[in-house]
């Protein structure tokens, strides 16, 4: 992917929006998979911000990444409602299972699926409720088998 061209297109589309930084960062991450450090100067110039301000926003928000992820991102809910139905056991299991895998594991604090936990989100769109370690292994096996 031509990151510079993608970035130029995104900045052109958003530079005049009030409070454009978060929408720009979301689009960059959606297009590239993360926010490459080399995009920061151009974002800063386009939005009339300092590089420090842009970097500060990227590093502040849990959602934004500065490094590429594995082929898939699996988020396991670690918040109270899921804890109440075995979320911690599941999260621990996930850490062990995904050690060394090219599926990235991230904690997430609530997916709004609190009546049917433990909850898991895959690649920001696919949702799984009432997750157990056995179901988790089956899910990961499917993800790892995908090419």
């Amino acid at each position: 992917m031509d990151i510079a061209a993608t970035l130029a297109r995104i900045l052109d589309a958003h530079r005049d929006r009030p409070g454009a930084l978060l929408p720009v960062l979301h689009e960059v991450q959606n297009a590239v998979g993360f926010i490459p450090p080399e995009t920061v100067p151009a974002i800063a110039t386009a939005l009339n911000l300092s590089r420090a301000e842009v970097h500060g926003v990227i590093s502040y928000y849990h959602h934004f990444r500065q490094e590429p992820t594995g082929r898939h991102v699996v988020r396991v809910c670690c918040a109270e409602a899921c804890q109440a139905v075995g979320g911690e056991v599941l999260a621990e299991h996930a850490r062990t299972r995904l050690a060394g895998s090219d599926v990235t594991l991230e904690p997430v604090y609530c997916l709004g699926l609190c009546a049917c936990g433990p909850a898991v989100q895959v690649d920001e769109t696919q949702l799984h409720a009432a997750m157990t370690p056995a179901k988790f292994d089956a899910l990961v096996a499917r993800l790892e088998a995908e090419r």
Binding site: G19, L22, E80, A81, A84, C116, T125, L127
Partner: protein, 501 residues
């Protein structure tokens, strides 16, 4: 005539396999030569019955659930498109006792309506509030909201009418309506369900608010963990056409995606985030109503508050005010979560007891073990022991026991819970999510984790230190994140001291 079948597209239903069920129903119908109209509605809120499939019959909508792909064939064999008998048949949806016992006002169309269809929204009474508002002077709309007794449903329970009046009376060429859809509290999902299941209701509430306070622009700040809600809102906006006009001009709404910061649910941090900065809380005053988004007067409310407004205008302020108890008027959509048998959305007037909610509606624990603790109001809410389960669910009664209703999230734990561990988690969560502006929250939360670790290792002398640290956080923090984290910590310590031994 084609039979209409509803299969929820709500995120919880999707997480329980609703897409596969919808596909199987469509494929099986096609194979059998049956013409169906498949509507992806929101959820009725009976999460343990999801995916809850409904079919429209001469006797009304008949529910079946929870439906899995492998029972779809047997549903057709039982002639479910005509409401046929089947082990999963639940009868007329509206007669299911769990639903029939609720008072659904803000969620009256939830799971009923096609969230993508403006025509369906209008056909089911939507738009009436805005139609009435157009015929009213702005001050009269504000008065109606004041008279209804509506208070902010995000957690602070501040009287909505006072906010509205402040923004109305602020002199400015540009004002904003901001919807706080950063529903980050664990155990809460009513905002998500409403945005996914009845998005036009929120848009209508915002348009009424805009007309009332003199704002022609609105923003909905939705947390990034809710992609389905964002998609539903964008689809509704695309379909809204002239619906949001106030009779003078168009009300513009933009959906903005958050980025995974819990503290952005605090209104001033949210405004910072909307402006493109780190979500760090602002000092108050100035209040957002005077100096909010981009320095302009801003009416900021959470989803349920704004979505309650169309009904208040359509049915009248007095009708809304009649519900509830004491100074808590109207209804609150409670959300039963965690270790609960019948989890889901329960909209009832204030005044029911917590026990009624978790046993009569919730059916006790999912695990079958005794319930030991219930956290009400999210990660900053108190852990309540059995002895307090008879507390009525209203703002004042909860304040009187040092707790709060927050956004109506009810998280149940059975007797296997370790309350010292839950207290530690509360501090840990604060350490992860603190915006860093003030020291008591930023440093105190980390010290709190360490102190609780020492208590759990057997050093009881540290309990006094924990109490002291909590006092500092309560008194010295800039916002609710730091000042309320001690609530779950101390309620766990005081109500369940045996876990800290």
């Amino acid at each position: 005539m084609r039979t209409t079948v509803y299969v929820p597209g709500d995120a919880a239903a999707l997480a329980l396999g609703a897409d596969a069920v919808a596909d199987a129903i469509a494929a099986t119908a096609a194979a059998r030569g049956i013409e169906l109209r498949l509507v992806r509605n929101g959820s009725r809120g009976m999460v343990w019955l999801e995916p809850l499939v409904e079919v429209v019959t001469a006797q009304g909508r008949i529910a079946y659930g929870p439906v899995t792909v492998d029972v779809v064939d047997s549903l057709f064999a039982a002639n479910f498109p005509s409401g046929g008998e089947h082990p999963l048949r639940l009868g007329p949806t509206e007669s299911i006792p769990w639903l029939a016992r609720q008072t659904r006002l803000v969620t009256r169309r939830l799971g009923v309506v096609d969230p993508r269809s403006l025509a369906d929204y209008i056909a089911r009474g939507g738009g009436e509030g805005l139609r009435r508002a157009r015929a009213m002077a702005p001050a009269a709309i504000v008065q109606a909201v004041t008279d209804s007794g509506l208070r902010g449903r995000g957690g602070a329970a501040f009287p909505a009418g006072i906010k509205w009046r402040t923004v109305l009376e602020a002199a400015a060429t540009q004002k904003y309506v901001v919807c706080n859809a950063d529903e980050g509290d664990s155990g809460t999902y009513s905002d998500r369900m409403l945005m996914e299941g009845d998005p036009f209701c929120l848009l209508e509430g915002m348009a009424i608010a805009g007309r009332a306070v003199g704002a022609d622009r609105g923003y909905i700040y939705v947390r990034s963990e809710y992609p389905h809600a964002i998609a539903a809102l964008q689809a509704a906006l695309a379909a809204a056409g002239d619906f949001l006009g106030d009779g003078f001009g168009k009300f513009h709404v933009e959906v903005r995606k958050g980025a995974g910061s819990y503290v952005c649910g605090e209104e001033t941090a949210l405004l910072e985030s909307l402006e493109g900065r780190r979500g760090i809380v602002r000092s108050k005053p100035p209040l957002p109503a005077v100096e909010g988004l981009f320095g302009r007067p801003t009416l900021i409310h959470n989803v349920i508050t704004l979505a309650s407004v169309p009904d208040i205008l359509a049915q009248g302020a007095a009708a809304y005010r009649e519900h509830g108890s004491g100074r808590s008027h109207g209804t609150l959509p409670f959300q039963l979560a965690g270790n609960i048998r019948h989890g889901g959305l329960v909209e009832v007037p204030f005044g029911l007891t917590l026990r009624e909610l978790i046993y009569d509606f919730g059916g006790g624990s999912r695990s079958g073990r005794p319930l030991r603790a219930v956290q009400v109001g999210g990660p900053l809410g108190a852990y309540l022991p059995e002895a307090q389960f008879d507390t009525p669910l209203d703002y004042e009664a909860f304040a009187a026991i040092g707790a709060g209703l927050g956004h109506g999230g009810i998280v149940a734990f059975d007797d296997k819970v370790d309350m010292a561990k839950q207290a530690r988690y509360a501090m840990k969560f604060c350490a992860i999510e603190s915006c860093g502006k003030c020291t008591p929250c930023r440093i105190g939360s980390t010290r709190g984790v360490e102190v609780i670790d020492r208590i759990r290792a057997g050093d009881r002398a540290q309990i006094e230190l924990l109490e002291d640290l909590c006092e500092t956080m309560v008194q010295g923090s800039a916002c609710a994140m730091g000042s309320m984290t001690p609530i779950p910590v101390l309620s766990a310590l005081h109500h369940f001291p045996e876990d800290f031994a």
